[in-house]
C-alpha cells in the first residue's frame, strides 16, 4: 500500500485525477467488476479488415499536393507484448496537431493556422518484427483551458489493438526535453516517473535520414504475455 501512495510501481493513470479537470465528472466511482479467468486476456481482439490501411497512410507529409510546414520527422519503434515478443501485423493509428499546434478537427478552436497540406492522421500495420514507421512533421504545443495558462506539450496520439481485448491501447507519445512536460496533468497523472518516461520518445541518430528528417524512436509494450493464448 505504501508503495502505491508515493506512486512507486504504479504505471497506469487513475480514472480520477482532479488536476486534469475533465476526469472529475467522467471517472467512474464504482470499482470495475473483475471478470473470471483473465477473460480480457483470452478474448480475441476485434478483426480489422474493415479499417482500410493503404501504404501511403504511413506518410503524413504526402497526403496533399504540397509539403506541410514544420520539422519533418520519422517516428518508428517496435511493438511487443510484455514478454518482449513482437506483435506483427497489428493496426497502429496516429493523429496529431500540425506544426502550429492546431488539429484539423472542427472541435479545435485554437487560433493557430491550419495547414492546407497537413491532415495529421495516419495508419499502418506492424511488420513481421513488430515494427511501425511513420513520416510526419513535429506537432506544435497548444493551449487548453484546464487551468490558467495551460499548454499541452507536443504529442502524437497512438491507438493500437494487439491480439486480445486486454491489449487495446490508446495513448500519447511525447518528445524528449519538452519544457511543458513537468506541468502537464495528463502525462503526470501516471504516478510512477518510470511510467511517465515510457511515453517519451528518444531522438535517434540511426533513424535520422541525412539532409531530410530527424528520427525519433518509441517502443510500445502491449498488455498480455506468452502465458495467454494470444495467437489466434
Amino acid at each position: 500500500m505504501s508503495q502505491l501512495e508515493n506512486g512507486q510501481g504504479d504505471y497506469e493513470p487513475p480514472y480520477l485525477f482532479p488536476d486534469y479537470r475533465s476526469t472529475v465528472l467522467r471517472a467512474p466511482k464504482q470499482q470495475p467488476v473483475k471478470l473470471a479467468d483473465e477473460w480480457f486476456h483470452r478474448a480475441p481482439g476485434p478483426v480489422f479488415g474493415r479499417i482500410p490501411v493503404r501504404a501511403e497512410d504511413a506518410d503524413l507529409t504526402r497526403q496533399h499536393s504540397g509539403q506541410p510546414l514544420g520539422e519533418r520527422i520519422i517516428l518508428t519503434g517496435r511493438v511487443t507484448d510484455s514478454d518482449g515478443r513482437a506483435v506483427p501485423n497489428t493496426l497502429v493509428e496516429v493523429w496529431q496537431a500540425n506544426a502550429a499546434g492546431r488539429y484539423l478537427d472542427p472541435v479545435d478552436d485554437h487560433s493557430a493556422p491550419l495547414d492546407p497540406n497537413f491532415t495529421g492522421a495516419g495508419r499502418c500495420l506492424t511488420d513481421a518484427g513488430g515494427r511501425y514507421r511513420f513520416v510526419t512533421i513535429k506537432p506544435g504545443a497548444y493551449p487548453w483551458r484546464n487551468h490558467a495558462n495551460a499548454w499541452r506539450p507536443a504529442h502524437v496520439h497512438f491507438s493500437l489493438f494487439g491480439p486480445s481485448l486486454a491489449s487495446r491501447l490508446v495513448t500519447q507519445m511525447y518528445f524528449p526535453g519538452d519544457p511543458l512536460i513537468p506541468s502537464d496533468p495528463v502525462l503526470n497523472s501516471i504516478p510512477d516517473p518510470r511510467g511517465r518516461a515510457l511515453l517519451i520518445s528518444r531522438f535517434d541518430i540511426e533513424t535520422t535520414v541525412p539532409e531530410w528528417a530527424l528520427g525519433y524512436r518509441w517502443d510500445i509494450v502491449l498488455r498480455g504475455s506468452r502465458a495467454t493464448p494470444a495467437e489466434r
Binding site: 467522467r26 464504482q30 493523429w95 495513448t171 511515453l199
Partner: protein
C-alpha cells in the same frame, strides 16, 4: 516488461479515427442507439465507442447530445464487448451490452441491483443502451 501506460483519447480524434461505414458492424441487423452521460447527467459529446464480438467491429463517435448508434447482429454469446474512450478518461472503459433475453449470462460478480445497466432495452425497432460514466445508475465496467 511493463505495458506502455494509457493516456486519454482527448477531444480531437474525430477527424482521424472514424472510417467509412464504421458504425455498421453487420448490415441488415439490429440498430442499437444510446447516449453517454457524465456524473452530472450531462451528455458526453466527445466520446468514442467501439463494439466487437466474433468478426464484428464497429466504432462510433458521440454527437453533441452524447448519442451514438451501431448496426450489429446478436452474437451467440448474447453480448457485445464495448470499449469507451473520451476526453477525461485517462484509461478506456470496458463494458458489455447484453441482448434482451440474455440477462442470465451477466457475470455473477455483478451486484443484482446493477445488472440492469448492462442490458439493452427494446424500444420499437431499435435496442436502447445508455452508458453512465458516473453517479446514479453508473454502468458496470469490467476489468
Amino acid at each position: 516488461m511493463r505495458p506502455t501506460p494509457s493516456q486519454t483519447v482527448g477531444p480531437f480524434f474525430g477527424f482521424a479515427l472514424p472510417f467509412a461505414g464504421d458504425a455498421i458492424a453487420t448490415p441488415d441487423a439490429v440498430r442499437v442507439e444510446g447516449q453517454v452521460l457524465d456524473g452530472a447527467g450531462e451528455p458526453v459529446g466527445d466520446a468514442l465507442l467501439e463494439v466487437s464480438q466474433d468478426s464484428q467491429f464497429g466504432r462510433c463517435r458521440t454527437d453533441a447530445e452524447g448519442a451514438f448508434h451501431f448496426v450489429v447482429s446478436q452474437p451467440e454469446a448474447g453480448f457485445l464487448d464495448v470499449a469507451i474512450f473520451a476526453r477525461g478518461l485517462l484509461r478506456h472503459l470496458n463494458t458489455r451490452l447484453y441482448f434482451p433475453g440474455h440477462e442470465d449470462a451477466v457475470p455473477t460478480g455483478v451486484a443484482p441491483e446493477r445488472r440492469q445497466t448492462l442490458i439493452a432495452q427494446r424500444d420499437g425497432e431499435v435496442l436502447r443502451f445508455d452508458v453512465r460514466l458516473q453517479g446514479e445508475r453508473e454502468t458496470v465496467f469490467f476489468a
